[in-house]
Symmetry: C2
Subunit: 297 residues, 2 copies
DNA sequence: CCATATTTGTAGTTTAAATACATTTACTTT
DNA sequence: AAAGTAAATGTATTTAAACTACAAATATGG
């Protein structure tokens, strides 16, 4: 049988992902190389062709054939693309904050850690679930967003964005209001419940109440959790495992990006007419602002 | 005079930045190489040593000496580090959303664009201003955060974070409440005003009111703006210039990261005792959650 | 203006990457 | 099931790229 050529999803894509996806289509000894690459990409970076071949226990030309198979012109280019892909992975290496860090160091660490976590969340998103959520939200009569604490912020953010695309929606961040609103939901409505832990009692009650009324529930949490068990669609926004003080910070930012994706996708679906409405609204906002010369008191 | 060795701010740092900073300390012909690198780093990636030397109009060993001077072991490693640095810059290349993009494509584009924008914001932050803001916030009796719309979300987020480090604070997202609160502020208080445009009238009034009462004002906006003119400390959170629908989305995320930095820094300053309080609070939150077995209805 | 030190280039050496070819393994067909 | 064929892998060789030692040229200080 002829060897199948592999093409990445998007050209110039993360080479590590390309390797992972190509894995089953590779020849036996090429796969040995691929496995070593996935196992420790950093090591390949510091390795020469000879070292890489010894490491994978195959001949040098096989390593090169592997590189060609996944779409590179040779070993050199492959290494460059690995370096490219690894960039985000190493941003977080200096992420432990110290009391005597300079401002510059803090900026580097926190931005680095945030970007790395986003990259992690990106690569661990379930596209299937996301697609299902988009479909559901696109058809929804109305949407309610629920969350407490950090997740409450995310709910509010979502509520600000979705109306722009023509979906009536609300956000509830008070436990009493949440239960009331959830109880009133009916078939055709969609409840989006944010909870990083996915274990907060109030949120589980909200999800249950919404379901009992016949509404669909989209659960968003940081890992597999009770919330997801009682949701119609489960979206896991996984962030880097980090037990220190900054975890909630990261998870909310990753969730915000997921909200961006959902709202953008729903917006693209509902489309044309709403783009116009959006422009009109922007104009209204503009009138709230001054021109260039503001008379400062 | 002896040639000065250059050391990057943080080891493993963005090599492009290292080159930029090292520029004045380099030898004349090494500088020619550095200029070419800064001019078009991508080109260096696809070039061989011979090509790079021809491009810069110097000899091959000079190129190598340049690599060594900025802290690499040779040309190869230099190229790898350039690839590393360039990673974020190319994430945003596919960022125009299409109606018929797959979910996977949307995820890639929006995450990519978000990460690139964060990187941009990071490299354009004014550390000096940030340091001044940290100092001010660390000494503050109380802090009030102000914002409308997307910036209101940021204000709420900030308000959730700062109390963890022992600073009493509030967030106002209603124009009437904002003015009332701002008018009541006194010396020793700090007002943090978020406005992406920095031109919203209500926010300018708030900043002015707070100043009139003797409070210090930290203005946070996306570019130079009237708000910053009337603030004691100006923080510009610059995001990628993108006129389409998603700009507010990005700017709020970048602002959230800046809030993270401020709160982390203030937290580190106020330190020890509050770390304990923070743990206590975490424990309280934990009791709000179920254990593993939740009785699903 | 000469002497010394520093910078830059030339030429050669070494090492790594890629190619052509040979061998082995697996698969198909009778 | 066996032989032939095609595909996959390894061996040996070639090519070229990166690095090094040394020499020339330029700049610097007395």
């Amino acid at each position: 049988m002829a060897h199948v050529e592999i093409t990445g999803r998007i050209p110039g894509e993360n080479i590590i992902e390309v390797v992972r996806q190509a894995l089953p289509d590779l020849r036996k000894s090429e796969r040995k190389v691929a496995e070593k690459v996935l196992e420790d990409p950093q090591r390949i970076l510091n390795a020469t062709l000879a070292e890489a071949s010894a490491l994978s226990d195959v001949s040098e030309p096989t390593v090169i054939r592997f590189c060609v198979a996944i779409g590179c012109t040779g070993f050199q280019e492959f290494k460059l693309r690995v370096a490219h892909s690894l960039a985000l992975g190493t941003l977080a290496t200096h992420s432990v904050l110290n009391k005597d860090d300079s401002t510059a160091a803090l900026v580097e660490k926190i931005f680095g850690y945030t970007m790395t976590s986003l990259d992690w969340a990106r690569s661990h998103l379930d596209h299937q679930a996301l697609g299902a959520a988009i479909a559901l939200l696109s058809e929804a009569q109305s949407i309610e967003f629920f969350g407490l604490g950090a997740s409450g912020i995310v709910a509010l953010d979502a509520q600000q964005k979705f109306p722009l695309f023509g979906v009536p929606c609300g956000a509830q961040t008070d436990t009493h209001q949440q239960l009331m609103t959830a109880s009133m939901m009916r078939p055709g409505d969609v409840a989006v419940v944010f909870s990083n832990t996915g274990q907060t009692v109030a949120m589980l009650e909200v999800a249950t109440a919404a379901r009992n009324g016949g509404a669909k529930v989209i659960g968003v949490s940081g890992s597999h959790s009770p919330l997801l068990d009682i949701s119609d669609i489960s979206i896991i926004v996984e962030t880097l495992d980090n037990t220190d003080i900054y975890t909630p910070t990261i998870s909310r930012i990753a969730s915000l990006v997921v909200v961006d994706i959902l709202s953008a996708a729903v917006g693209l679906r509902r489309d044309a007419e709403h783009a116009k409405r959006f422009e009109d609204m922007k104009e209204l906002l503009r009138r709230q602002r001054h021109g260039s010369a503001f008379p400062v008191v």
